[in-house]
Symmetry: C2
Subunit: 327 residues, 2 copies
């Protein structure tokens, strides 16, 4: 069975179990906004990778299911809070939770998802030692992702935002997050700390590669927010492209770009986005971004070579699955 098939099968299993963790028909003002959000997408790739990793490393995936569910609820908690923080009104062509149910309910429903994540890990059918390790992984991931988000929120239209700062931000914001399911699956399988360290490192390569790709998609296809191209520019969000342009563009172009980025969302017109795109193109920012992401993927393959397990197949499959989604 190929990895895509495995993700599909495990993803469907997760979807079913999520409904046990958070019953969709409860009249508690939490289930409804949560399931409105859950239905806006989700192939449940992250939790599926948790189960696949566990199995490939000789563990029992049934013992990793609780952690896999936690990874998925954590993921959705972040999306729900991020949508408020970024002021995004649409997600996969549906209104975001704060738009449909109000900011108060969206903050609180996000908080609830995090409670569900911890509740799920606490119910894991594993030894006390492993359970504590899993709780540490969840907490570390949560903490680091929030730290990255703090940098992201405050980097908007920053005057001096370098590629280095961008990388620091996305390593925190996406690196732990991407690896945490795999790390959890590996812990349930009983691997050594050295293996765990290497999987974290894999996340630090793959996460930023994913984010750079996301930044690129926003400029080519849009992010499914009603087909809008350039919503990062509209938001004044510090993308890879923006950080690169600040490093290489002429003073005039930088100034022009910053004026566009600083405009309030409602005042950013199609013409502004076109102008920003022109500046990015002038300095080959798109090609540079794609190359940078490709390099990160290559680094990921090198990291895999260092993982101290005999059969590295699963990690290679996961990396190429992700790389494929990025091309």
């Amino acid at each position: 069975m190929g990895i895509e098939e495995s993700i599909k099968i495990y993803g469907a299993k997760i979807d079913k179990l999520l409904k046990d963790l958070i019953p969709p028909d409860k009249k508690d003002y939490l289930s409804e906004p949560i399931w409105h959000h859950m239905h806006t997408g989700g192939k449940r790739v992250r939790p599926a990778l948790c189960l696949i990793t566990c199995e490939a490393l000789g563990g029992n995936p049934n013992e990793a299911i609780h952690f896999a569910l936690a990874v998925e609820t954590l993921h959705n908690m972040f999306l729900m809070h991020d949508d408020i923080e970024d002021g995004d009104t649409m997600r996969r062509d549906q209104p975001t939770v704060w738009v449909k149910y109000g900011t108060a309910n969206a903050i609180n429903a996000g908080d609830y998802l995090l409670a569900c994540a911890y509740k799920s890990v606490l119910a894991s059918p594993v030894s006390l030692e492993r359970k504590l390790k899993l709780l540490q992984v969840l907490t570390l991931t949560y903490e680091k992702t929030v730290e990255g988000q703090a940098l992201d929120i405050n980097a908007r239209a920053a005057e001096d935002f370098s590629v280095g700062q961008y990388m620091n931000m996305v390593e925190l914001k996406t690196g732990y997050y991407l690896a945490c399911g795999m790390v959890g699956g590996a812990i349930v399988a009983g691997v050594s700390d050295a293996v765990v360290e290497n999987i974290w490192m894999l996340g630090k390569n793959m996460g930023p590669a994913f984010q750079i790709r996301d930044d690129l998609i926003d400029l080519t296809h849009g992010k499914g927010r009603g087909g809008i191209i350039g919503s990062d520019i509209k938001e004044g969000k510090a993308s890879f492209l923006y950080s690169y342009a600040l490093q290489v563009a002429s003073e005039d172009d930088k100034k022009h770009l910053r004026v566009i980025m600083l405009k309030p969302r409602d005042e950013t017109k199609d013409y502004d986005i076109k102008q920003a795109l022109e500046i990015f193109k002038k300095y080959n920012a798109m090609e540079y971004a794609q190359d940078y992401a490709d390099d990160l993927i290559q680094q990921a393959y090198k990291t895999i070579d260092h993982i101290p397990v005999e059969d590295k197949t699963i990690f290679k499959e996961i990396a190429s699955f992700m790389a494929k989604r990025m091309s």
Copy 2:
């Protein structure tokens, strides 16, 4: 040493350790909003009660300090998110975090406080078994408080909001929360599950008593939000008084009250608040609320009688300390 003295001493200790957990001078866009908030108040009563309970039950309070810190960061996380959810602009005569740093930073800094709570408990110098129990207590408290908040958010100006519904809401929102420090302290001291159950029960008596008192203070002295009287009415917040009035008032008075409660905050004038107060007074809602809170305190004393420990002094002292603060 009396309990007030103990709270003072332990509170100061907590204040110092909080600065180790969250260094105030870190340039991470998290420490600054968090410490702006932390300085708006806090005698650190909740964590102090954790340490006092632990010691009184024969435990080593140094082993409970990590949990005590978690109780305090959880508390502040809720305040920070609640201020956004309630639209409160002032806390103890200072601008709230979302007003000073923006909603995005306030949501994210609240999220970070929760990460700190878990991080702190995970670092507790106790056995694996006890650590897991502490993590369960933290998670249960977090979950139930969020469930209560969901009811609170959506109860605003509800047409049929009974005293029973109010009690359910505040038991969830304040009961677990108030008890959790004591429960944690007791677990570190190694008490039986029966003792733990009784302390939870104590919270279910004292928490709502506290909340009813808070509702009353809002109508007499204001909540320190720039000296405003009746901010619950302004917000259309479902207080004990409101739920009681809906149960006993004439149809005309109920209708009148609901019109006032449904007015947007900015349109609620001093005259409206005066009118609502008149309705509450007409039905002796204040006296009823005070009696109700007093009854809950009496129930708390009965609960204490059932706690299966020989020396119940500490619980009686805590209850009368709280009752005193409520009179």
